[in-house]
Amino acid sequence: MSTATQTRTPERGAPSSRTRTTGSLGAIVAAELTKLLHRPATWVLLGLWPALQLVFSTLIPYVSYRRGASYEGSPPEALLASTLPDRLVENTISGLPLFGGALLLTLGALLAGSEYGWGTLKTLLGQGPRRLTVLAGQLLALVVVLAGTVLFSFLLTALVSWAVATGAGATVDWPSAAQLARGFGGGLLIATTWGVLGMLLGTALRSTALPIGLGLVWVLAVENLIVNVAAPLLGAFDAAQAALPGVNAGSLVAALAGDDAELRTPGVAAIVDGGQAAWVLAGFLVLFTGLTALLLTRRDVT
């Protein structure tokens, strides 16, 4: 350590009540964005979702069409139609109820759980911000990143479906601006709900591995078992499935896709109507956020 360097700024005098001694919410959001965008795991998880989405909703059906294959009795032309620009909304967000949700939940769990594993939560709090401000900053940064990813997924799918339509000589018929806006909003709502569930699990368990494992089992297995095995057998599960986050996410995507859409992505099914699904998801988002805030503010940081 240099002994010649001045540690203290010369102008420092008695502390003024107007001196800012913690970062503003905007500064904390900027700090959280720096953390997220420099983290390799963020790019892997956020890159995988649009990539998988594109492969399963557009590329595989298009390749099948080119080979003249049919899907469950539908002619190849129906496969081509499902990849065209007018199906942009569902082709962009249909993965969110299941595999997209699993990836984003993982991101949320990493975001919150790593702070405990690396001992960085105490470092952040040691700089003096209120705990709720820290949480608000992390949530807003997550929403910004997720919004960027949903937007990127829309642009990527639009580009590829335009290329497919142009190559196949089909009509390029885009969804209306209102449909696109609703699709973007619905996609972001689903993405944020999964992300915040990940943050809740990461905060509750103060780690990353266990919350990710439990979250994945829930999203990929338990909800499917309830919907496909338990609900047809027992009336209680039939009623309860309407309150599951994944079921509501799938129902919201189904509603945004429109009545005439062919729903073949796992996890997407119109079990409840779209409006109800959006409200239930918003309720989950508030609940998960509230529980995370409660855990963060009430517990000792050790």
Partner: protein, 330 residues
Amino acid sequence: MQPVQESVGGRPGDDVVVLDGLTKRYGARTVVDDLSLTVRRGEVYGFLGPNGAGKTTTLRALLGLIRPTSGSATVLGRPAGASAVRVGALIEGPGFYPYLSGRDNLRVLARYAGAPPGRVDLVLSTVALTDRAGDRYSTYSLGMKQRLGVAAALLKDPELVILDEPTNGLDPAGITDMRALLRRLSAGGCTVVLSSHLLGEVEQVCDRVAVISTGRLVVESSVGDLLGLRRLVVEAEPLEEAAAVTAGLLGVERVSVEDGVLVVQAGPEDTARINRALVLADVDVTGLRQEVQTLEEVFLQMTGSGLAAAPPSDAPPGGSRRRLPEGAVR
């Protein structure tokens, strides 16, 4: 042993940290027990205790990271953990983002602290990390990580710096530099609270120390006063008679019997009159010697514990030590 506490002489505004009956329990286990102490503005305050004594828990309470079970902690006139207080801290080792560079880690924290971006390079240079600031934190050595932790504690240009074992992982040169940094901070008007198990270091750097053991305050005193509790070792026969005479002269609290000798808290100025009193009481005095203690010896006596360092051979911790009963005074 009852805690020995100096009366606080400064004005109330001079008290940077005030702990009042701070207690922290985890279930049935009491980690910090009714701890009261005061840190004054501008001093370097050492927090000493064996492993598990409750040092880090107390420092966490100062930052508001944990909630006391009872009692209170006041920092710079506000409840501990209140935001907008100029406190910098390094608690229980550095915690940083391994995928970010040292500089980016500090940039993130500067935004959290509301510190101007220029502080980042200033504190990096203060801890001599400028050359490696662009490297990922995960590639740092233990000592570099520790220095980055200290740099983060200085980001806010704090009035109070709390450092938990700041020399952990530092090489001898790093320890010397850290000592110089602490002195510079203090000279600049900053108050420093540090915990350490390196007693020699505390002895060199701190103005005052608190010694805690099993969560309780053993003593809060200036280093000079602690070391000034010099020991006069008296070998005499009969020992009980010698103890009673000496206790009558100086007070029971300054006399104890340890391993077959009489140990008196007394300086050279008292030696002659103790000897005279013993001879007049027909006690055979076979040995009188003054022991100057290091802080380590004082610490070991007070906590009665084995620290990482071995106890000095001539000053065993008080296993066979016993105080005199009040009625033993002649």
